[in-house]
Subunit: 147 residues, 2 copies
DNA sequence: CGGAATCCTATCGGATACTG
DNA sequence: CAGTATCCGATAGGATTCCG
C-alpha cells in the first residue's frame, strides 16, 4: 500500500507548510512502502541493528576503537556477560563487527567495528538529534520503558 | 563513563581514516555519554519513539495527513486493533499525535501528527538510508526477528 | 465505528553458576 | 580472561470477545 501520490489528499491546503505534505518522498524505493514490518524493509533492517537493550551502547563504545570483552564490561558495568555476548554475537552475525582471538594465556579477544558497523554512525547521530529535539519540545513525553 | 578523548588510543595510526577515530564527537552533550540505557538519554528517547512493532509504520501513514482509526487499519491490514490503539496511545502520550473526536453516529476519530510527531521524519529517513546501506553491503546480514 | 478487556504464547533480559 | 548454561520474572503482541 502506497502512502504517497495516490488517494485524494485529506486536507491539502497550501503546499507551503501544514504538515510537510510529503514534499519530499519519505521512501525513495519500493521497499519502504510496505504494509507490514518486513525484515527486508530498509527501515526494519536499520531498526533491527539498533534495537534491543544496550544495542546502541556497545557499538558506541567500539566507535572509539577495538575493545576486548572485559574492557566492554568495564565501560558498561551494568551490562551482564550474557547480554553482552548476545549483542556481540548479533553484531557479528550482521557483519557489523569482526572478532579476533589471540591464543595464549590469558585468552584475548578483540572486537572491531567493520565498515558496515561504522555505517551506523550517522544513524546514532540522528537518533541523538531527534531525541534532543523531542526533549527540547517537551521533556515529559520522552520516557516510557523500552525492553 | 566517557568514550572520547581519554584512555590511550588502542590503535591510532594516522588520523586520516582507519575507523573515524571520533574525529567528530558522537555525543555533543553529556546526556549521550551514559553508562547504561537511561530513559532520558536522547538516543533512548528517540529509540523509544520508534521501537515496538508497527511503531514506524503508523507515523509513516500519518505523514501524508490525518487519518481515522479504520483508515489506518485499512492501510495496515495485519495490524490488530489492540496493537494499533496501543501505538496510538503511546504516540499521544509522547505528544507526537493529536486526537480529535467527532461525536454523532458513527463516531469519528481523527489522528494528526503534531509538530513533535513530524520531527520524526528525518529519523525515519535516516533509518531508511542506513538500512539501504546495510542491505547494499551485504543483503544476508540484515534479517533477524525484532519484537 | 472506535476502541477496551481478557487470554495466551514467545521472547527478552537479568541473576547466578559453571567451563575452557 | 571470555564466555556458555540454566532458571526465571516481566513484557510484547496476536487472537478473540465485548462495549458505548
Amino acid at each position: 500500500m502506497r502512502h504517497a501520490a495516490s488517494e485524494p489528499p485529506v486536507d491539502e491546503g497550501h503546499p507551503t507548510e501544514t504538515h510537510a505534505a510529503d514534499g519530499q518522498e519519505l521512501t525513495p524505493t519500493a521497499r519502504g512502502r510496505t504494509v507490514r514490518p518486513e525484515p527486508d524493509c530498509p527501515v526494519e533492517v536499520a531498526l533491527t541493528a539498533v534495537s534491543g537493550r544496550w544495542a546502541t551502547l556497545v557499538p558506541r563504545e567500539l566507535m572509539g576503537g577495538p575493545l576486548g570483552f572485559s574492557e566492554l564490561r568495564e565501560r558498561l558495568p551494568e551490562l551482564s556477560a550474557k547480554v553482552l555476548s548476545q549483542r556481540l554475537r548479533e553484531l557479528c552475525e550482521r557483519g557489523l563487527l569482526s572478532v579476533e582471538r589471540r591464543r595464549g594465556f590469558p585468552v584475548r579477544t578483540c572486537y572491531t567495528l567493520t565498515g558496515r558497523g561504522r555505517a551506523l554512525r550517522p544513524l546514532l547521530i540522528e537518533l541523538y538529534a531527534t531525541g534532543e529535539a523531542l526533549l527540547a519540545t517537551g521533556p515529559a513525553a520522552g520516557a516510557s520503558p523500552r525492553g
